[in-house]
Symmetry: D2
Subunit: 345 residues, 4 copies
């Protein structure tokens, strides 16, 4: 039994961390912090949790949090995270950071897309928390940088093909569509119900900060630099990311070959479901679960490979993956606390 703290518990990712951890057989939640609703019960912010998790939200400093927890989940925005993580590590905790602050290995790249990095000395030891690829490093890590939601959906379908050199590195287009929990729980006009409902738009075209993260992971898989066109869109649903990925193969390739590679790569991955020929993912079928569903098509006319992936952005795209990482870091079964059937409809 380990003790876990969540910093930033009232955001949507924080909420799902509690949803998983308060029933995790090896975890006791000892501390929830939140600066916007201090003193409130967690179940007052999220009434769904009445009688399930009535812990009080605190404003404890990192050093204090560290004393009360073995593992800390930092579910806060980038920049805020790197102001906390060094103290948490110094306090002897393991950390799963859900922000972007430790995902990019190269501080210079980070500073190009975000802002100055205040603890670049931690970057070399931070492990990118994509268990399907970095399982062994995660198991030994003290600091895991939990992947972004879009990158998770973008790289899982591509990695097996990139590793085999099957994809032209400059051909990649990732067209992603995310549910609105991805925009967070902060009040704002643009995410009001009436502004999102019955609407659909692209945003951050050519400039979204998840782009270098996708490129870093795919570059490592393929062994050379990769550039992608990444376009996020906002879906009028609560949860889910569907990514439609276009890739030009380096040689003519059959669908059976693509599916075989995916199946082989993910044979031991409990949360990746590779769909058979003729079937494609729907975000509805992974809602509330930690699955990443992957389907593939090879266009008979253009020869392009089209990959489609679906995740729940708060689960495999954030909190579910964070707990999967924690499980690995503590030697628990990877699926502990995460054996959740999607809620559909």
């Amino acid at each position: 039994m380990i003790k876990a703290a969540i910093i930033g518990a009232s955001g949507y990712a924080g909420g799902d961390l509690v949803r998983i951890l308060h029933r995790h057989p090896e975890v006791e939640i000892t501390c929830l912090t939140d600066r916007t609703n201090p003193g409130m019960k967690f179940s007052e912010v999220y009434p769904a949790f009445r009688e399930r998790c009535d812990l009080e939200l605190e404003t404890a400093e990192p050093a204090e949090v560290a004393k009360r927890a073995d593992v800390v989940f930092t579910a806060v925005p980038h920049k805020t995270a790197m102001a906390l993580v060094p103290d948490l590590l110094d306090g002897g905790c393991k950390v799963v950071d859900l922000s972007a602050d430790y995902r990019l290995h190269d501080a210079a790249v980070y500073e190009t897309w975000y802002q100055e990095h205040t603890s670049p000395e931690l970057l070399p030891e931070a492990v990118y928390g994509l268990p399907e690829v970095y399982r062994e490093q995660i198991a030994k890590a003290r600091l895991v940088a939990n992947p972004g939601c879009y990158p998770t959906s973008a790289v899982l379908p591509l990695i097996p093909l990139m590793e085999k050199g099957l994809i032209q590195a400059d051909s990649l287009i990732v067209d992603s569509k995310s549910g609105t929990t991805g925009a967070g729980r902060k009040a704002g006009t643009a995410t009001l119900f009436c502004e999102v409902n019955e609407g659909f738009k692209a945003y951050g075209v050519g400039s979204h900060r998840h782009t270098p993260e996708i490129e870093q992971v795919l570059g490592e898989a393929s062994g050379s630099a990769v550039q992608v066109n990444f376009t996020p869109h906002l879906l009028p649903i609560n949860r889910g990311i569907l990514s439609t990925i276009y890739a030009q193969p380096t040689k003519k390739v059959a669908l059976a070959e693509v599916l075989a590679l995916l199946n082989q790569s993910y044979a031991d991955a409990p949360f990746v479901r590779v769909l058979p020929e003729g079937q494609l993912p729907n975000v509805a079928y992974v809602k509330g679960s930690n699955y990443c569903d992957i389907g593939a098509v090879v266009d008979p006319r253009t020869g392009r490979i089209i990959l489609v992936s679906a995740i729940d952005n708060l689960m495999k795209g954030a909190s579910g993956q964070a707990v999967q990482n924690m499980n690995l870091m503590y030697g628990f079964n990877e699926t502990l606390g995460l054996d959740i059937t999607p809620l559909a409809p």
Copy 2:
């Protein structure tokens, strides 16, 4: 470990039965039947279940089903159910019937609102499966008539007050609003996405078949005949029923008294959450779970008691309650398999 069969597994209630039972620690699903998609895997009808429940849908006759199961859930429409249940009981099974066929004690009332009853001889032994009220009878029952979704939401808030004689029997108005899974999974123009989305309507006003069921349960609680005005509405959401209930008290009553009665009645009910003064339910906060949330207001000007309840119509309103009944019938802990946190957002 008991063996369970579900007849009508491809409907929405059937789907949620599988969602609960395939992870229930004391249950093995041995048979799923469905006449519309025979031969398909359950996970082809509900792709959310890929790699979780890949059982084949069968068209087995009741006698055959009875041989392979200890308990059978009949998740089929009224009339269809009563054509199956006698054979299932004869085959030695216990039955939880999710249809309306065995809910009304009086065959004549049934025949007024539905059609001829073909097995009225079973009505005396059928137990109305509302565990919060009939827990002991359910524990001994061979045939449980699982309550309707609307009645569950209507009667749970009222029963404690009716039992105390606090409510004028002829004053009751139940204004209910249900998510669209309540309309079932049958193809039809009226439940197409574009017909329901951005819409809201009342239907079955003054004539909905759940009316006599509500009246029967409340009549038993109060000890005399009760008539209600029941109005259902269709909500453009997947899951959830919110009932707003108006009742004239027999004497001036304070909110504190109402809440105390509710709290006392449901102190040992694991799935009823009585909200404190000033808080009211939202269907979002029970989604996917077996909870019934209840809030109350006493109008300071008119003196009326206004009760508001929220359930997930497929869970506490159907499949969750059915499993709760099964747990009682087999002496399992009432919450086994049902300890599910609502999924919000």
Copy 3:
């Protein structure tokens, strides 16, 4: 051709005023004010209006606005309105006030439900802008208090019956459900997409400020004091209010009689559609239009009359009705600019 100004143009009601007025054949919009986005074009706040209305949002004071307009629509919150209206009237304008500030005739009642009234001297001349009832007074008015959205939906079905003494005054229950534009366009956590979507709740039970407004109008219709139980709910749709109204008749009444009364009362009302027996309203069928659809049922068992009405809360519930009032105030055809087919689906 008259000149119109809208104060508070960037709210949802302001937006619909522009939608109607920028194509009204007798109106020129000369001034749009907004304190939150000064200097922006209206079409930058509402991109739907690109190339249709690119006027700049101003912060002009009332005296200045009055110089540039014949009629001013104040689409601002209560309290804000009464700080502007006296100056607008002094400046020689006619005013249609969409706030609550001039709806209640009795300043004491206003002050019980809202706060101190700063221009009670205007209350005697303010006309309640429900054209179906007060058409002649509106035609002569300098100041029209545009009705609340909920009251419009509640009183139109009831007035013909109240006028005939058909309803027991203490039996009235109004159970209303509103789309989320009713909550306005102000940033806030509670109206974020993910908090509203897939949810449904009651709010303001027994305490909503539209209650005294409903009671005032019904009291005038019936000739004696009326008390109602009014319960609003929040619907996960953009536009629409559906009110389900329960009334005990003073004597046994047939549905045909109720429908005949409604049809007779609204024979000359271009925006009220009384539905034939067996048909009930749906908010989808009035979306974007100025219609109020009304259906009725008489419960054969309890004898209660159940009335169901549907309006678009931004149209007949706010901006459409405001323009209808303006048409009457200037002697235009009542339907000018408002002959809009509902957009369904």
Copy 4:
């Protein structure tokens, strides 16, 4: 004043044709046919039209329809249309066909993607009804093949660039997302509310029948054969298509150049709105209107041009464009009956 008939009036495109035409100043609707609800009033199928269009739905044969109309809109599925159109033309009518039957110039291509063509002799005279490109031919046409919804959204942004030879013909990827009215009004499980709501999926990947139509139009614009990857997706909204289009330029190109080309091409197109740099379309901002909004980005790193377009699939994607074509065919102002502000929110 011309007489118009609509064949297939009870589908969603039929409904929007009535919405436009029943208020069109130069049109009288003389005949609505529908085989699924014969004898019903149009306003019984679409209650939004109560008191606005109460015409009866008929089952008249084409020859009979032709006698009563000058122009006929065939809003029926492909194959059904070509069984009617020859008779309508023989009867002396002009025809705007909303099906796919006369869109492809080459019967062989049609037969590859659809089925045998039964009136290939009409293909040479059929004009592809995209007014922004084929305005003059449409004005003289007897038979206009109204474009598909997806193709309209795909080709309008690309044509100006293809005409200038700016795009590598084999680089085109069109990732489109459509509201659910695009799936029609036929009962079916896959388009039930609960199957679509809170979901999102791709379908017809690499095989959708709108692909050859896109390629034909772009081929004509560029002067040589074009192949695209076209991927449609299903959005949980009623109306709207957003297409995100990826194109590799033949030479380095600046965004200003792209926008200038678009602005120049569509300077006289009343329904195309080219957005300024930094702004991108949202389907919400064209809802209910005939606009096509277009935005553009040039990715500074990959050099790709990304175009985003938004239309209402029932308006510019079907019925609005059909009336725009009719206006041209009869020498009316192109915007007659179509000067509709989008309904947002």
